[in-house]
Amino acid sequence: MHLKDKGSALTAVMLLAGFLFLFIGIYRGESIIVFEKAVNICLECIGIG
């Protein structure tokens, strides 16, 4: 396989893996944890908690 094609294949595999991970994360409910953290003021982030 040409080096350029190998690079493209790697990029495609990485993107597929990324979307797979993302959907697994959503399925596991991780986005809800992110949401719950983000809609409340994060006291640690602002230096109070």
């Binding site: 350029k4 690079g7 493209s8 790697l10 990029t11 990485m14 993107l15 893996a17 990324g18 979307f19 797979l20 991970f21 993302l22 959907f23 697994i24 994360g25 959503i26 596991r28 409910g29 991780e30 986005s31 809800i32 944890i33 992110v34 949401f35 953290k37 983000a38 809609v39 003021i41 994060c42 006291l43 640690e44 982030c45 602002i46 230096g47 109070i48 908690g49």
Partner: protein
């Protein structure tokens, strides 16, 4: 051919500013001293943008990562790992150069004219590894292992280090919200001290936070050599004049390594090159100017 050494900086700063406004578009939050609580807050922005900024309409990926792996339910975040893989594979540290509000903040500070500017110093190269240590220790290990009695960890990077949180969240919320004002203590002072240090250093050194501290930059840097967006040197055109290496404020040498982990894709090297020998590719499709 004499070229403008600021290159495409003006265009880049416009993109940075527009992106900062889009991702912090909840203007009413700055008036009320409250944060946005809409549904898109479960989505992350690519850059370092505190979700406790009154204007923030989405989440900070570093904060979100610590929130998930610090929860008692999960010790690995597929959601955030997937997000990093997608963004990193597409853009690498292009995010740092174009889509990070805290990067824009440092860029602007570095424009303050000062005779005493430092491009490189003795421990510069070694200090670049500090951001990987901060990523592993403060963003990953501490939220997982230092927990309360129910197994809930804290976002230690946000709590102890992140100056973006102080700038975007801490300062406006404390200024606008009386309850927050009354709760200010030592930690707030410590975080303000870090922010002031970053501000002063940013005037002297180009993007010190990105170079030495930022865990998000550390993550994206791992993707720079393999990302879809890449630089490449046209060796037929390159005359080895070294102008690209001399202009680079991140200390990269594009001729030696056009996809260095430190390159934030600011494009200064491309702009200064007299032979237009630095080209970029996206998914290996060659683009010129």
């Amino acid at each position: 051919m004499v070229k403008n050494k600021n290159g495409n900086d003006g265009f880049r700063h416009i993109i940075q500013a527009v992106w900062t406004l889009i991702t912090n578009a909840y203007i009413i939050g700055f008036i009320r001293g409250k944060i946005y609580q809409g549904k898109i807050k479960n989505v992350c922005v690519p850059g370092l943008n505190c979700y406790s900024c009154p204007g923030a309409v989405a989440s900070c990926p570093i904060g979100a990562l610590q929130a998930v792996i610090g929860s008692y339910e999960y010790k690995f975040s597929f959601y955030i790992a997937g997000f990093f893989i997608i963004i990193g594979t597409l853009m690498g540290r292009f995010v740092c150069g174009y889509l990070c509000p805290f990067g824009l903040f440092q860029d602007l500070l570095n424009k303050i004219p000062l005779k005493f500017k430092i491009n490189s110093f003795k421990y510069d190269k070694i200090l670049r590894y500090l951001k990987y240590c901060i990523l592993i220790i403060f963003v990953i290990l501490m939220p997982i292992f230092i927990t309360d009695i129910i197994g809930q960890g804290f976002p230690w990077f946000c709590k102890l280090i992140c100056p973006a949180g102080t700038l975007e969240g801490g300062l406006p919320l404390v200024a606008l919200n009386d309850a927050m004002k009354s709760a200010v203590g030592f930690l707030y002072g410590w975080k303000c001290f870090i922010l002031i240090a970053v501000v002063i250093l940013s005037v002297i050194i180009y993007r010190p936070f990105c170079k030495y501290v930022c865990p998000l930059g550390a993550i994206y840097s791992l993707f720079n050599p393999i990302s879809a967006f890449k630089y490449r040197i046209n060796t037929d055109k390159c005359i080895n004049c070294n102008m690209c290496a001399n202009i680079c404020k991140m200390g990269c040498n594009p001729v030696e390594n056009p996809n260095s982990m430190e390159c934030i894709r600011c494009g200064k090297c491309r702009s200064i090159c007299p032979e237009e020998a630095i080209e970029y590719t996206f998914f290996n499709s060659h683009k010129n100017r």
